[in-house]
């Protein structure tokens, strides 16, 4: 028997390569005769392209090819998830081409590509391209973009509207809100963020003229999906003629889910060059302007209820800035993944939301860690605080008063989880919100908050405490539901795994999910070790290559631990069943009499009549003497389509101190009690929470992508965009409650996004709490010293 490793703090099996400098990221790969590509990007946010003259660039040293938009014979990039779910939604779709042809819609849109012998020569030649632009007026703000007289981006999108979508019961919510005892209204902005994985994107395209096959190494979260989309929607190349490989991926946070122009360009270029591999690696500056951004909502919220604290209605109108053209699933984020969970962990009987997707002259916006759910959590958690302040109720108490009760699950919320077209529904599967709240309040010492504030005040500091009682949707998703909601997503969301136990007992697990730092090689190994009773060191987990792994939808939406793991467990179950049959044959017993204990398959009541799974694998893989009708080899594949999403929850509490003189905000304590169900590896869970919290805190306090009115990205480098540094954080205090998910056999829920979903609202509520003695009831993020100082000055009647 091996020690059970499921649920243990096991050191990661992938780490030795990373701590010794032996990781293998795209830019680490060299190929014989490899050429290098550089991309010319628009300096204008909005312009017509009159002409592109590449003659001088072609003559530059080392240049082997120059391409402009008209050279690329392929379709525009796909938009795979239109806003859907109710009748009459029109999506005015405009997606990028590999290279722009007639016009550019944001600074950074690709206009031309140069391939040269070295990267330096390709970059040098960019300056020799002459583009004649006709600059046009730009608009970067969603609210201004839908106003009368705004510059128009696309002929097929009047008033720059991508879609107008709504969810929930309008009449019921109007009645509830308009007739309520108390209504609180607030405009809130969820600012635009830049994802910033430490590895920028990059790819190597290689066309093999001998086989007419394309291979691309890509820093992607979704190699299987990319093959499908490139083949079926963009290039028209048969799917089996494209191979996508994601080697080690240096972080992603959603930004590497999507189909990007450079994928098409490196493959096209390699074909044009007769099979010379072509590498492109994004500079950080390019990444800021050309890889997706996240968030960017302007929301008008109305929360209504009674003076006793019962919340009876939530009415929300959101403008979602989607950029100059649409990214792969841009419209899906502010609709399905946002508005359908706006009521959070609260039982609010009437919820109605209108979302308008908007084109602006900015980089496209798509999923960034949490994708819609941080925005929803920010709205509802700010709303609960605003409502509590209005009626003079304690902020913990109002949450407690409105929580969905523990006996109410499965719970169908009123903001539309159950209203997808075709009748597909999902439910909040489980929850028990008060224990997590109580634990967090006790840890932070909530009862002594007034004393803490007084003590801080004596030091010239305004102390504030903020609560965020969040839920999140993980484990996306039942195929029937996601297919229905998307109305055109046209894809499923199941996962896959194959297990092969070789003659020697060594075991290869191949999966369709795709890690970007989460430690999947460790967690899948823990699961298979547990399921088959074999040592972790006998297992290797392979992923990331469409050749050799079963189709999978990739890793995002905190789905691998619940959906992917369950596929692996199913495959292990098939292995066990076949091994039992083989054991029965080897032990001359009935299959029904074979019992399994870890790796041992023995005859019931006779533990000495036993075969180990390794012995069984040896016998069936050789197949000298199989039972009648049994195929050789322990080799099983399983596909798993989850019946529901999973629903982590918890309470995060931030404590901040604000220097009244300077406006500097310091995060002094952070307490998080999360319920992510059972844990495969608690060490990895903690790490995911730490990282997610840091990103969410980053949004609240420092981060923000800023465009000027001409569409120039002012925060266009790491010098200008304030990423969190180590010295900005206190030690994060984590705790847990454990409510296993009933959806999957190990009761896991997923944890990749929880930290980022909860933490922004916790810090925002803390900052507003700190400023509340000055009469401030809301302030938009990020809470830089300048923003906070101005707010303080304004509140005191000074010069803001």
């Amino acid at each position: 028997m091996t020690t059970d490793v499921l649920g243990a703090r096991i050191k990661r099996v992938e780490d030795p390569r990373f701590i010794t400098g032996n990781g293998n990221y795209v830019d680490d790969i060299k190929m014989p005769s490899m050429a290098h590509m550089a991309i010319l990007r628009s300096p204008y946010a909005h312009a017509n392209i009159r002409s592109v003259d590449v003659a001088a660039a072609r003559a530059m040293p080392g240049v082997v090819a120059v391409f402009v938009g008209a050279d690329i014979p392929y379709n525009p990039l796909p938009m795979a998830w239109p806003a859907g779910g109710s009748a009459g939604i029109q999506n005015n779709v405009n997606t990028p081409r590999a290279l722009a042809t007639d016009s550019v819609k944001w600074t950074g849109e690709a206009v031309a590509a140069i391939v040269a012998d070295t990267a330096a020569e390709a970059f040098d030649a960019l300056d020799a391209i002459v583009v004649d632009y006709e600059p046009l007026p730009a608009v970067v703000d969603a609210e201004k973009a839908v106003a009368a007289g705004a510059p128009q981006l696309h002929e097929n999108a009047p008033n720059n509207v991508v879609f107008e979508w709504s969810v929930g019961d309008k009449a019921g919510t109007d009645a509830a809100v308009d007739g309520a005892e108390v209504v609180v209204r607030q405009r809130i902005v969820n600012q635009r963020l830049i994802p910033n994985p430490m590895e920028t994107r990059g790819d190597i395209g290689w066309y093999n003229p001998g086989t007419d096959e394309y291979t691309i190494w890509m820093s992607s979260q979704t190699p299987h999906i990319q093959r499908l989309l490139l083949a079926a929607f963009v290039m028209g190349v048969p799917e089996h003629k494209i191979r996508c490989i994601s080697p080690d991926v240096g972080g992603a946070f959603g930004s590497k889910i999507f189909t990007y122009a450079d994928y098409v360009l490196v493959l096209f270029a390699s074909k044009q060059l007769g099979g010379r591999p072509v590498k492109w690696v994004e500079s950080r500056r390019e990444s800021y302007g050309s890889t997706i951004h996240g968030r960017d909502h302007i929301t008008y919220l109305e929360i209504a209820g009674k003076r006793d604290g019962e919340v009876t209605g939530l009415r929300v109108k959101t403008l979602a800035n989607l950029g100059g053209r649409l990214s792969t699933i841009g419209p899906g984020i502010p609709t399905t993944l946002y508005a359908r969970v706006l009521s959070g962990c609260y039982k609010i009987p009437n919820v109605y939301a209108e979302v308008t997707g908007v084109y602006t002259n900015t980089t496209f916006v798509d999923a960034y860690r949490g994708a819609g759910r941080p925005e929803a959590t920010y709205v509802i958690e700010r709303a609960m605080d605003l409502f509590a302040a209005e009626i003079g109720m304690d902020r913990a108490e109002i949450r407690r008063r409105n929580f969905i009760a523990p006996d109410a699950f499965p719970y169908e919320n009123p903001s539309g989880l159950g209203t997808a077209s075709g009748g597909a529904k999902i439910y909040i599967d489980s929850g028990n919100y008060e224990p997590a709240l109580d634990k967090a309040l006790a840890t932070v010492g909530y009862d002594s908050l007034a004393a803490k504030k007084a003590e801080a005040k004596a030091r010239g500091k305004l102390l504030g405490l903020g609560l965020s009682t969040y839920i999140e949707v993980c484990g996306v998703a039942p195929s029937k539901w996601i297919g229905a909601v998307g109305e055109g997503w046209g894809a499923a969301m199941w996962e896959s795994a194959n297990i092969k136990m070789h003659l020697t007992g060594k075991t290869v697990v191949t999966v369709g999910t795709q890690p970007q730092g989460q430690g999947h090689e460790t967690t899948y190994s823990q699961i298979i070790s547990h399921e088959l009773g074999i040592p972790m060191e006998d297992i290797v987990v392979q992923h990331s290559d469409t050749q050799g792994t079963p189709f999978g939808y990739g890793t995002y939406g905190s789905r691998t631990s619940s959906v992917g793991s369950t596929a692996a467990i199913k495959a292990a179950g098939k292995i066990r069943e076949k091994a039992r049959k083989m054991a029965a044959h080897m032990l001359e017993a009935s299959v029904d009499d074979i019992e399994v204990d870890g790796a041992n398959y023995f005859v019931k009541g006779s533990p000495d009549r036993v075969k180990t799974i390794q012995e069984i694998a040896f016998a069936i893989d050789l197949a000298f003497d199989p039972p009648e009708g049994m195929e050789p080899y322990l080799d099983e594949t399983a596909y798993y389509d989850t019946p529901n999403c999973t629903w982590p929850f918890g309470t995060h509490i931030a404590v901040v101190e604000i220097d009244e003189e300077t406006g500097v905000v310091e995060l002094v304590r952070y307490v998080a009690v999360d319920d992510v169900g059972k844990k495969i590896n608690p060490m990895i869970v903690d790490g995911q929470l730490h990282g997610g919290i840091a990103q969410g805190v980053g949004q609240a306090l420092w981060e923000g992508a800023i465009y000027d009115d001409h569409g120039q990205l002012l925060t266009g480098s790491m010098l200008d965009y304030a990423l969190p540094r180590a010295s900005y954080f206190p030690n994060l205090e984590l705790d847990e409650t454990v409510t296993p998910s009933p959806v999957n056999p190990i009761g896991v829920k997923g944890v990749g996004e929880a930290g980022a979903i909860a933490s922004t609202a916790a810090v925002a509520n803390a900052v507003v709490d700190a400023l509340s003695p000055l009469g401030i009831r809301h302030l938009d993020m990020p809470y830089t010293a300048q923003t906070v100082w101005r707010a303080i000055q304004g509140a005191k009647g000074g010069q803001a």
């Binding site: 010794t20 060299k30 910033n196 972080g251 790490g687 730490h690 010295s727």
Partner: protein, 162 residues
């Protein structure tokens, strides 16, 4: 137009012909195939490219290869002694101080330098010492714990094997 340079990299003498504009990180990664040193930005902010030059941590994207002529360079690949990991490498592994691994080599090189100068740093000193290295995955907490563990290990002089 190229310059001849000679330096010692991870204990081995190396000579290169480089363009004057070639960055040290490019020479290491592309000419010497030492791809453990990474490039994460273009403004000397992220620290993923940190190596030691003559015993001091340097962002190798901010130094020309010709400036490293005659110097002694240590990269992440030169940190372990044979199969025996440096205590800092081991501590990052032990404490889950990395997720995607991209910032890790630079972070480890910066942390090794910190302990060279200050064998018993406080958490606050650790957090300030690694301010020039971005990590987007870990929230830094387990990196701080790893550096603390490495400090304890190195002070106790215990040999840690891989």
């Amino acid at each position: 137009m190229s310059e001849h340079i000679a330096f010692v990299v991870n204990g081995a003498p190396r000579e290169l012909e480089v363009e004057p504009r070639r960055l040290l990180v490019q020479a290491l990664r592309e000419d010497l195939d030492l791809t453990g040193t990474h490039v994460g930005c273009d403004t000397s902010q992220c620290g993923a490219c940190t190596v030691h030059v003559d015993g001091r941590p340097i962002k190798s994207c901010t130094m020309l290869a010709v400036q490293a002529d005659g110097s002694e360079i240590r990269t992440i690949e030169g940190l372990a002694t044979g199969d025996v990991l440096h205590p800092m490498q081991n501590a990052f592994w032990e404490k889950h101080g990395l997720q995607c691994g991209f910032c890790t080599p630079g972070m480890i090189m910066t942390a090794v330098d910190l302990l060279d100068r200050n064998p018993d740093p406080t958490d606050d000193e650790i957090r300030h010492a690694i301010e020039g290295n971005f990590c987007r995955c870990t929230g830094y907490q387990n990196i701080v714990a790893a550096i603390r563990l490495a400090a304890e290990t190195m002070r106790s002089g215990a040999a840690v094997s891989a």
